[in-house]
Amino acid sequence: MSAVLSLKMAYRRFRATLGRLALSVIAVALGVGLVVAFRLMNVAVMHAFLDATDAIAGRASLTVRSGEGLTFADDIIQTVAALPGVKLAAPLVRSVTFPDDGSGELLTIHGVDLTHEASVRVYHSTENSNEVIDDLIAFLNQPDSIILGREFAERRGLQKGKSIQLVTPTGVRSFTIRGLLEAQGLARILGGRLVVMDLYAAQEAFTAKGQINQIDLMISHDQDVDRVKKAVAAVLPGGLTVEEPASRRELIRKTIGAFQTMLTAFSFLSVFAGFVICYSRLGTVFESKAWEVGLLRAVGLRQGTVFLELLKESLLLAAAGIVLGATLGTLIGYYGLPYLANTTAIAFRLPLPSVEGSLNADAFLLGGLVGLFAALAAATIPALRLTQAQPVAALTMRGREAPVDDSPVRWGLRTLLLVLIAASVGLQRVAESTLLGHVTSGLIGLAICAFATPLVTYGGRVLLAVWQPLFGATGRLAAQRLGQRRRRASLTVATLGVGLAVVFLFGTLAWSFEGTLVSILSRSLGADLIISSAFVSGAYWSAPVSEHLLAELSAVPGIAIAAGEQSKEIEYAHDVIFLKTYDPVSFRDARVYRWPLDESLPTKPLELVGIGEAVMVTRAFSYRYGLHAGDAIALDSPTGTVEFPVAAVSGVPVENAVIMSRAVYSKHWNDPMISLAHVVLEDHADIGVVRAAIARQLGSKYRLSIRSRAELIDYFADQVRRAFSLSYLMEAIVFFLVLVGIGDTLAASVIESTREFGTMRAVGISRTQLFSLVMLEGTAIGLLGLFLAGVAGLALGVFWVDMQFPAILGWKLDVHLPAMFAFGAAILTLLLCLAGSLLPSLHAARLEPAAALRYE
């Protein structure tokens, strides 16, 4: 029993092969590191945003809202406040603003009724909570009065009595700091990036008179919350909802959770890559020690005992990888946390809270478990194969590779795998299941591994035919050596194939996304200039600007049309969709916007939409919800549920969206803001002159970004590239593994071929020829891996763009193959193969023939 549990023997063997297993240790460490890092960061980010949600909710028992960022009339307050059980109904205006210093730092605006605020939302919890403001009357009488978070103020060198320029939808305005909030409660959560002002002043500056974002309700202690909630819901007009803060908390958890799940999936992808590399390396190392397994069996160890000993080696590998990975993960988590928090805030248009990292035991436990599983799973098949070999046969394998099993059974399994892939792709077309799509992707990954051996066999023959005329005998020998070491070569080819296929997959996704977006924007945008706020309120969304801008633009010489566009996310069918709204002229005049329609009513659909008697839905929306021209759609708005006939299905824009007249939207959703202004120039107007005029007359007031059509398309394309920037990290890891993998494979091959090379040198082959031989061998492996990756990557990329992406997001993308990217990646891979082959080639060239011939 003690021998079963003892790690002594395994440690001695592991210690001896640590150099060769270093790649596997690194691969496990990277996977574990990313799992730990994302777990640490996700937990910290989730806590921070949930704390922020709780802080925003304050001590409210219930909240009345109309949807994220939407406003409703404040006349409902009295009705709600009069209900039995409601102790207090406190209105809130919530918006965002930016200091006019170009920093782009987002501040959260809370417009509150300061006479009641302290009882609902604790901003300042010291004994002198009423002395945040020196003089409340003066504060209320000055509409430019604000209370600012002390942390933010100190960072900017601001004090009470000083003024600050803030960008509002109606332009840049000056506000006076009449109070500072200590770093407590919501101010602390938001890192001081909080501006509190009078409710009516906030309405005037940021929303509209009489419009609020939510009502916080305090319930009497002796009242049942559910009963009061029902009573409130009964008096609310359609489009308004009442919820407990916990629901909001759950919504945030679900929303951010989905994003974090994607990040976690990415980290598990790294674990899978680590598993493939471990499988490859352990298989190679175990095969090279087949004779040792034979010896163990010959001396008298049982099959099961030998199997356990091999697994123990992988256990030690896992332990080394886990320790390294945990350290790496902690470092990545520490430095990546602010970046992830910022990305999350931008992606979900939430206020950015202060995030504090902490070391969670479960992150390390999860990382440890996946690392252990990856290493043990990777070792199981090679260990099983070795221990089942006959001891006598194994003993003769010293310095030789076990023959590859290329039996009809194997080919049968490969064929079955292809059939399974074809079947799952066919099923995916019908079922549109995300899970099935992942299974299909996994099967394709397995197919890469399964077809690596035949590729080495038959690809080696092709290379032989090509290289002999190109490189002579050296080329022929290099290609032949692949066939002599098929198992090792195919394991490395499989590793390269999987890694590079994932690179090509991400490249295809990114290119298709960008290409589709550029194509759609190019087809739809008609305006000469597109104007927006210079500030971004979330993701790629510009901060809202007052629609008064349109009238001011129309007054600029040279401008023929200035049409507004506003976009808003709303809830629909327990999901979130976009409302894309345009001024009526956008539907009449193709100079403003063009609408390629997939299907439509026979009678002037665009005109119907323009006059507000119908709406359109996008192709993605129609695909996801099954709505077509002629159907009807009901939408909840702050003014009640509104129903529209669907006049057409449009090919633009790309999102799940309902398209309507901005006039209709503004009426029902109480939103007079715009996010974009489409400007059409008069004939013969000079675009540069008009642009300069806009900047001069309106730029300083509104802080505008003025882009041409081409520039806007470039901007959105750049946003897509930023969204996929996480894939660069993955690509860097893959290329690193290419470099190390090739080097490791060739190093092992050279060592085992020492006697062979000694023979070659003795026969008369020069050092240069031997150097070239090994370099060509490495290049051959790289070429075969690239070929496999290209085929599999293409299959994966097309599958994901055509089927999996629509299943996940409901967006249909056009397939754009990243030819230049693939070419660049291929060149880089070959260069890395050459670089990885360099040291082993030099080692081979430097072998002394006499010593090499004696090598055992």
């Binding site: 002594k8 001695r12 005992t305």
Partner: protein, 244 residues
């Protein structure tokens, strides 16, 4: 004691391949090896010597016939049981030594005892004792095999084979990779172990001189025993080579 070390082969045949590709390695071999005998098996390359040894060790199974070692018919034993038999009762010495290149001399000898459940300290003591008996200097115990001469490596391999105190030692061309002087030293060692420990030794060799170390020599040709020669049973007798 006599029964435990005895080997009996009854009409043992071993064929490889099937159909028209059948290759007979051994044909109808009858052989008995009493306890404490030193048996040499001779024959040209491909005559079935190593096959015979592998069958005795339970590393391979005969196509027909019975192989009985230490009173156990190997065909009736499971793979695990045959492994246990080898670990506890049989030592194996190979032509190419087959030492773990990354283990020290001591580690190469100790590891079988770990799998027999012997505690580390006691295992080390036994290893050191057996290494001393085969003539390995204490200073060499922390060296790796690559740092030893061929003769030293084979002594270590013999030590490994004997550390579990088996009753039977199987040696497959133990002097094949050694020069004549070193080889003779190894043969002397094997003879001494046979005499002083009542160790049954079955040694395969193609070297006539090496074969004379056995009490009995059998000659194999084309998988059959064609000749048997008995030497005088004098434990201390030493064969003088015809040529110095």
């Amino acid at each position: 004691m006599d029964e435990i070390a005895a080997i009996r082969l009854e009409r043992v045949s071993k064929h490889y391949g099937t159909g028209q590709q059948v290759l007979p390695a051994l044909s109808d071999v009858d052989l008995g090896v009493p306890n404490a005998e030193f048996l040499s098996i001779m024959g040209p390359s491909g005559c079935g010597k190593s096959t015979l040894l592998n069958l005795i060790a339970g590393l391979d199974t005969p196509t027909s016939g019975r192989v009985i070692v230490a009173g156990h018919e190997l065909a009736h034993m499971s793979d695990d049981a045959r492994s246990d038999l080898r670990l506890k009762h049989i030592g194996f010495v190979f032509q190419s030594f087959n030492l773990f290149p990354t283990f020290t001399v001591e580690e190469n000898v100790v590891w079988p005892l770990e799998f027999l459940g012997v505690r580390w300290r006691k295992a080390r003591e036994r290893a050191q004792a057996i290494l001393g008996e085969v003539g390995i200097d204490p200073s060499a115990r922390d060296r790796r095999p690559a740092e030893l001469s061929g003769g030293e490596q084979q002594r270590v391999a013999i030590a490994r084979a004997l550390v579990a105190e088996p009753q039977l030692l199987l040696a497959d061309e133990p002097t094949g990779n050694l020069d004549s002087h070193t080889g003779q030293a190894i043969l002397d060692l094997l003879r001494r172990l046979n005499v002083h420990h009542d160790l049954t030794v079955v040694m395969v060799t193609h070297n006539t001189f090496a074969a004379t170390y056995g009490h009995r020599t059998i000659e194999l040709r084309d998988g059959r025993i064609v000749r048997e020669v008995r030497a005088p049973r004098d434990p201390t007798a030493r064969v003088v080579p015809l040529r110095s």
